[in-house]
Symmetry: C2
């Protein structure tokens, strides 16, 4: 005898007149006209069960049911009385007349109602098991599963094979902080949990596996932001013998396929934009193209103005001046004084000292038509040129950024997104509510690290330079462009990848450019340099952040809503109370001791 | 222009007359009659490429090729000359007449030939990238991938969803030793890497996910045996609302499906055997049913004999006496004196003090027909009974085990397998070369731990007792049978599982039986006990060792042959040299220090 015949949520009129046995949880019990109605829930949805008083034993069981009791119901599927159907439910046309009812396991009263949408994150994570019963969380987990399965199907069909790489690896203190694992067998030595299987996947290409993938946990011991977790999941892919464009085409196809099959979303074809263009127009290497605002470049123009705030920024090394035109922002019903003040505070987060602006009351009226504290500092010609270049019209507002390039890009780039997403922005048609994917390409190989006074890799040190750019690494690193690409969706970086270096001498050149000594390179990456000497094939790949991808798809606000058992922002599991102190014996076996002996409670 | 049009190994006569572009590695180059033949290899196989001297530029490139150069070849597919075809290869009927040949990356001379089958494991693991190029390793990795993909397809079709559980978990120092991960944020606290997602999968059942699976890394910091790795991969599954038999049926179906689809192997239906029967007949809870030998139980019979070795074992508490009849083992061409001597040493590994035997020269002749040092110690009636019960015939040999039950089972159980697998055993028809799967069921809940002088869980403490056995936990733990089952194939445990406890009071009862105090239970498993109170559903599952499963399928001798980047038996990665010392700064951030300050080299 099977414990159940159907899922509750899938009992439909197709089963009319049949006897079914269902298992699930009491979602709600109502007494109505001497009859008891129970909504029984499982992962597929709800079904309405009706208990009549003329079946006394069953009715007695029903009377004692409480929310979240786990029950088994056998009964007859029949049509709901006219006027009581529910179009929101798959089972909304039927109900189950209860013949047998069994409590499989009772429940104490839950600490909160499952449909309470105002729970604190601490409550939700502490009672994660109940939180995971909520239909919204179940939908997220199901969608996450669909995404991975569709990814696997696509990759399988394209000849990629899943190969596992080690979790217990070697610590290479480049980049982010490693999670370390002390070795018991090797006194004083440590494993590191992988930040990514980057080198192993390259080794698999050298070993001839041709097309590799893995949906794999990666680890970074960094301070957490809203969309970061200490352990996160990466769709990690690598292929041999494909050129940069072919690689992008393949993975764009994959993502479009996954969105369609897992979520019924048809993504448009991904446009391609160079890193240079993206920074020039949006001040960001992951522009949100749904926001219909662009920078106007004013650096050259501002070199000759009297206004020091602009001319200093325009003439300093690495300075930049831009305007951001906001159509309708200066008009009646546009941005309020309060909003403009708030923006002036907002840009300071990004290091800007202030936020100049001009309201365009009458574009044709010259100086008289412009309302702004800074107008008096600018000559007529400059003002006219600003209006002309920005294409400003009556009722617009122009914001200005003038500082080091990075500050301008970060501050005005963020302002652009903020305005676009604001209530005003949406009302004024500055936000296009669509799916806006994008490839950003032609990243620089290197960026100058002011703190360390040396060049560092923008992508990672295994990224290949564009053909013909190899020698620029020695002569002009700032001009050296990489075969790197980022996949961006709605202003969020979903993934990134590159064609890798497959020749040992090029790899050594990059290490030199990064001021990694030959000895150091050998110590840390000797196995890679070694492998590259044995006929390594041209290869490249991508890594896509699964958590973020699913978060985007579901529209979840936190990455923790798409992970079954996430950590808090203090890297704790509130459910199991990990991390926790361990026995002294365990530490002794691992040849370590605590640095700060813990205080005993008084 | 695509870098290649086909895989080398898949160029067949279907492409005759077409121009193809191939990428791969030089497997062999031969000069023959002024023409150069190159076997180019990729993951799909080899193809023969012919370079004619009349294409001088191409020929010059070909002349300089060495093994493992990575090359790109464009050429015409044509039939091989008659008499030179190779039926072993998919591409064996054709060759590619080379029009263009490009070295994509040269190779230094590899440290060994790829077809050398006598490499030490140290050499193979140190040069793992080249070792992984060997076709045998590539076949293993491909098969491993197929197994996982077929597993996923089966589970997907049956409504199971893949949900990720944490890698950074809580240390619960039960069972095996944990790998620990120091927390940077929480001074003095540690995460543990999971030994299995057991509790998380149970929590997912409580949370209503109904059917869960994961192919997941698990970790045990134990001393390694030939078939163990510090990190290993588990096919981890759990389902709600299925009874024990339904669960077994489901997963038997899965394994049969995977063997068929991934390896073309049709496994027979799995017979079911109780733990009691398996121990009684084979002295093992994972009997290799290919070996056609069984124990004969003699304990009762031997209680009354004069021979102290037997009667002491038979009368002691927990003692056992058995015979193992080996047909033909005592005959001409049977077991040699040397083999019998070796077996007497062999059983000592398992704690046996010796190995008595009787050669049956003439079963009908009574004492006179039996050849053995022990015959003089046994009376006629006992001897006759031994012959009768074992069914011994002329030419057989009987081995005897007499000791504590565990010693007898281990020693004679191992001897049974050893004889079955021996050259003699195979010649004598004692070994049936087939796939022999088996369910072993009805395990005891508890076994008495002599060292700790307490009961411990045979499976794990979350396993449900048989219905009606709940109270035996208090009154007679040794009689309490569990809803646990092991999946055995060819004498190897592929996986095990159980129906879990879903009621809090039963779980608490088990903790009490295991002498885990209520406080301790709350501290370690409070989140589980808590979850069980909220209407936890009946549930159960299984965990299957993927590495061992693939090892069995491929016939590999070592688990390291089915893992891309395994650790040595000293838990080291010889390729990347992990584990390794780390910076003092890293340790400081983790609030730990080394217990033994390392010696500086003089």
């Amino acid at each position: 005898m099977a414990m159940r015949t159907h899922y509750c949520g899938l009992v439909t009129e197709a089963l009319m007149g049949q006897t079914v046995t269902l298992c699930g949880w009491v979602n709600r019990r109502r007494d109505h006209g001497g009859v008891i109605f129970i909504d029984v829930r499982d992962r597929e949805g709800y079904v309405q069960v009706v208990c009549d008083p003329d079946r006394a034993a069953t009715f007695a069981v029903a009377e004692n049911l409480r929310n979240e009791f786990c029950v088994q119901v056998t009964g007859l599927v029949r049509a709901r009385p006219e006027g009581t159907t529910n179009d929101q439910l798959k089972s909304g046309k039927i109900e189950v007349l209860c013949h047998e009812l069994k409590v499989l396991n009772p429940s104490v009263t839950p600490p909160f109602l499952l449909d309470d949408d105002n729970l604190s994150e601490t409550t939700r994570l502490t009672h994660r098991v109940l939180d995971l019963r909520r239909p919204a969380m179940q939908r997220n987990m199901m969608l996450r599963y669909k995404v991975t399965m569709e990814t696997r199907k696509f990759l399988d069909a394209n000849g990629f094979i899943d190969i596992e790489t080690p979790m217990l690896g070697k610590s290479t203190p480049e980049g982010a902080r490693d999670y370390l694992v002390p070795s018991r067998v090797h006194d004083g030595s440590f494993f590191a949990l992988p930040q990514s299987p980057q080198l192993f996947k390259q080794l698999l290409m050298v070993a001839g596996y041709d097309r590799y993938y893995q949906i794999v946990k990666c680890f970074r011991d960094e301070d957490l932001r809203a969309d970061r977790q200490p352990e996160f999941t990466q769709i990690d892919i690598e292929t041999s013998f494909l050129a940069e464009e072919e690689i992008r085409e393949m993975f764009e196809g994959m993502i479009r396929n996954v969105f369609r099959n897992a979520a019924g979303i048809d993504l448009p074809v991904f446009p391609t934009m160079t890193y240079g263009d993206a920074m020039f127009k949006y001040g960001s290497d992951k522009p949100d193209l749904r926001v219909k605002l662009e920078f106007t470049e004013l650096t050259e123009l501002m070199k000759r103005v009297e206004f020091k705030v602009f001319s200093n920024a325009a003439t300093m090394k690495g300075g930049r001046v831009v305007a951001l035109r906001v159509p309708g922002g200066g008009a009646e019903g546009g941005l309020s004084r309060g909003e403009i003040d708030a923006y002036q505070e907002f840009v300071k987060i990004y290091g800007a000292k202030g936020l100049a602006y001009i309201k365009v009351n009458d574009a044709a009226a010259g100086r008289e038509g412009l309302q702004s504290p800074i107008v008096k500092n600018l000559d007529d010609a400059a003002l006219a040129e600003i209006i002309a270049r920005t294409g400003a019209r009556n009722g617009d507002i122009l914001f200005f950024g003038a500082d080091k390039e990075k500050v301008v890009n970060d501050a005005i780039g963020a302002l652009r997104v903020k305005i676009g997403h604001s209530t005003f922005g949406k009302k004024a048609g500055l936000f296009d509510d669509r799916w806006a994917p994008l490839w950003v390409v032609d990243f620089p190989m290197f960026e100058f690290d002011e703190e360390g006074q040396r060049w560092s890799a923008v992508h990672h040190p295994f990224t290949a330079p564009k053909d013909g750019h190899e020698d620029l690494m020695d002569t002009a690193p700032e001009k050296c462009i990489a075969k790197a690409y980022d996949m961006v969706l709605n202003g969020i970086e979903m993934g990134g990848g590159s064609v890798r270096i497959h020749r040992e001498e090029v790899q050594s050149k990059v290490f030199r450019a990064l001021k990694i000594s030959a000895e150091d390179a050998q110590l840390k990456f000797g196995f890679l340099l070694d492998a590259l000497q044995y006929g390594a094939p041209p290869h490249g790949g991508i890594a896509i952040g699964l958590d973020r991808l699913v978060m985007l798809m579901t529209g979840a606000e936190s990455i923790r809503d798409v992970i079954a058992f996430p950590k808090t922002q203090r890297a704790q599991d509130l459910l199991t109370q990990a991390p926790s102190p361990v026995d002294e014996k365990q530490l002794r076996e691992l040849h370590i001791r605590l640095r700060n002996v813990q205080q005993q409670p008084a």
